[in-house]
């Protein structure tokens, strides 16, 4: 059975008001082709989920698609802050749930294991517990009595991951940093992988080279999307596009520039 589909078909699975998660991190391996297409699609009022948001999250906030954001970080790594995210937060136009990296990983892991929550110490004694939207509860260890943090499972409705290569059965390989993606694909209810290229069968040397292998059992559809990480980096296929990143940062909140930028696919 082939799992090759079009981006349009994948986007049809995103219902208004649903939660959509993105893989990658900052300006690395972001599913930019999917995010840009989602910005042009009908579904709005979305809850975005990203451990490390980058231009994917930022452009959807800018396009007015986001009601809530669940995140540990949004930015362009060492290359600056995310302009629409900043503007939306500073004007109070979106709701946010702030995690740390390890607590959102715990939330994905609980979802992946089909558990209601997982306990952790990460995040204790910090202000991510004190925000009005904090999803955490303190629990006592049933064995030692130690106070721990219960992190409820996250099960995003749809997740988009960008990979270097996939096969028509839905298997995919990420050669560089996997970020939280291996857990995210297991936690999300529906998973789409965009890939630089789709082959009939993954070559053995790629499948076993030590990157991150995502099994077809977790993947609902694969979409061929060359340069699908857009201005962000995809190791070893291409580096991030610094001039494009700097231009976006400078001009994204200029609405005329931004709508023209969104239209050029």
């Amino acid at each position: 059975m082939t799992k090759m589909i079009t981006l349009e078909k994948a986007l049809a699975a995103v219902a208004p008001g649903s939660s959509v998660a993105f893989g990658g991190g900052g300006i690395q391996r972001k599913p930019m082709a999917a995010a840009r297409a989602l910005a042009a699609a009908d579904a709005g009022d979305l809850t975005l989920v990203a451990m490390l948001g980058g231009p994917d999250v930022d452009l959807l906030i800018g396009a007015g698609k986001v009601r809530e954001l669940q995140f540990a970080f949004v930015g362009f790594d060492a290359f600056g802050l995310a302009p629409h995210f900043r503007k939306a937060r500073e004007s109070g136009s979106i709701s946010v749930v702030e995690y740390s990296e390890a607590t959102i990983i715990a939330a994905f892991e609980a979802g992946a294991k089909n558990l209601p929550f997982l306990p952790t110490r990460f995040g204790l004694d910090t202000d991510i517990l004190t925000t009005p939207t904090a999803p955490f509860r303190k629990v006592s260890c049933p064995f030692s009595g130690e106070e721990l943090l219960a992190v409820p499972a996250l099960r995003p409705d749809v997740a988009f991951i960008h990979a270097n290569i996939a096969d028509r059965h839905g298997n995919a390989v990420i050669i560089g940093d996997g970020y939280a993606d291996p857990l995210l694909v297991q936690a999300a209810k529906t998973v789409f992988v965009t890939a630089e290229r789709i082959v009939d069968e993954l070559p053995d040397d790629v499948a076993t080279a030590g990157g991150t292998f995502l099994s077809r059992l977790w993947i609902d559809g694969v979409i061929e999307a060359p340069r699908g990480a857009g201005m962000t980096a995809l190791y070893p296929d291409y580096r991030f596009n610094l001039p494009a990143v700097l231009e976006y940062q400078k001009r994204a909140t200029d609405s005329e520039w931004f709508s023209a930028w969104l239209r050029e696919q």
Binding site: L81, R89, A180, P182, F240
Partner: protein, 277 residues
């Protein structure tokens, strides 16, 4: 200061804190360079993993804007994020964090300035700081500009917890203590009264009066205050010739800006790109 830059002084000072058989890491250029210098100089078994954990446990290489292409060749493993946090939980991480605010008792903030509900300035979010707190022995910080807006009486949002109020819990894992902080003025720790900020050393030419004037509270200082040790000739050689020949450290100086970034970028992308790893 003569013969070296502030960034070189900081890298040299930061490098002295690393010990072996553990990860030395940082999300900033200065912290990354300090770990590379430590490995090159005195901690050969320091485990380096930079921006991308896909190239982990690699040798010492020249710093690049995009590191994977140069680091992959000597990297021994692809470190997953799950394993990374398991290593943190087992005390195998040492980190210098580039923080935006740091307070009198060593709490740090990289998330928001002003009220969280509607920030005056939204920064990047808490990221991994609340996690590093539960596994690292101490959290060390660096701040580019020491002033009353960055070194404050109380942070606006606690990402890394400081001293005071231990919570009364006895745990098998201890919360990380605030460790050293290096700024453009000096080196400080949190061993003052009640765990408050204390002067460890001042950089050449910096007076205590100037530090006091630039700090949002009274910094503890007693006796003769030492001068921060200058980088050695060998440290300067390693920084300039081996770990940062392109001068990425300038991005963390006042010289840093889009023009310098683009210049570094053009030089880096003009170089031949290696093939698939």
């Amino acid at each position: 200061m003569t013969g070296y830059t502030l960034e070189e002084l900081l890298i040299s000072r930061m490098a002295r804190e690393f010990r072996g058989n553990a990860i030395g890491v940082g999300a900033t250029i200065l912290s990354d360079l300090s770990a590379r210098l430590a490995k090159a100089l005195h901690v050969p078994d320091l485990f380096l993993t930079t921006g991308s954990r896909a190239a982990a446990d690699c040798d010492v290489h020249a710093k690049a804007l995009v590191d994977e292409w140069t680091l992959a060749a000597s990297s021994r493993m692809n470190l997953s994020w799950q394993e990374m946090f398991q290593l943190i939980a087992h005390g195998k991480l040492q980190i210098w964090i580039g923080t935006v605010q740091l307070d009198q008792y060593g709490a740090s903030n990289i998330s928001v300035i002003g009220p969280w509900a509607k920030p005056k300035a939204q920064l990047v979010g808490a990221r991994g700081v609340p996690d590093d707190l539960w596994g690292c022995e101490s959290l060390c910080y660096h701040i580019r500009r020491h002033n009353p807006r960055t070194i404050v009486a109380k942070v606006d949002f606690v990402c890394g917890r400081g001293n005071g109020d231990g919570g009364g819990q006895v745990r098998p894992v201890r919360r990380a203590k605030p460790g050293l902080v290096v700024t453009d003025l000096g080196v400080f720790d949190f061993e003052g009264p009640g765990g408050s900020m204390r002067v460890v050393s001042l950089h050449p030419g910096i007076t205590l009066e100037r530090v006091q004037e630039k700090t949002g509270f009274v910094v503890h200082a007693t006796g003769e205050i030492p001068v921060t040790p200058e980088p050695t000739a060998e440290e300067l050689r390693l920084i300039r010739k081996v770990i940062d020949p392109q001068g990425l450290r300038r991005l963390e100086s006042n010289e840093g800006g889009d023009e310098l970034l683009m210049d570094l970028w053009q030089r880096e992308t003009g170089a031949p790109i290696e093939g698939r790893a």
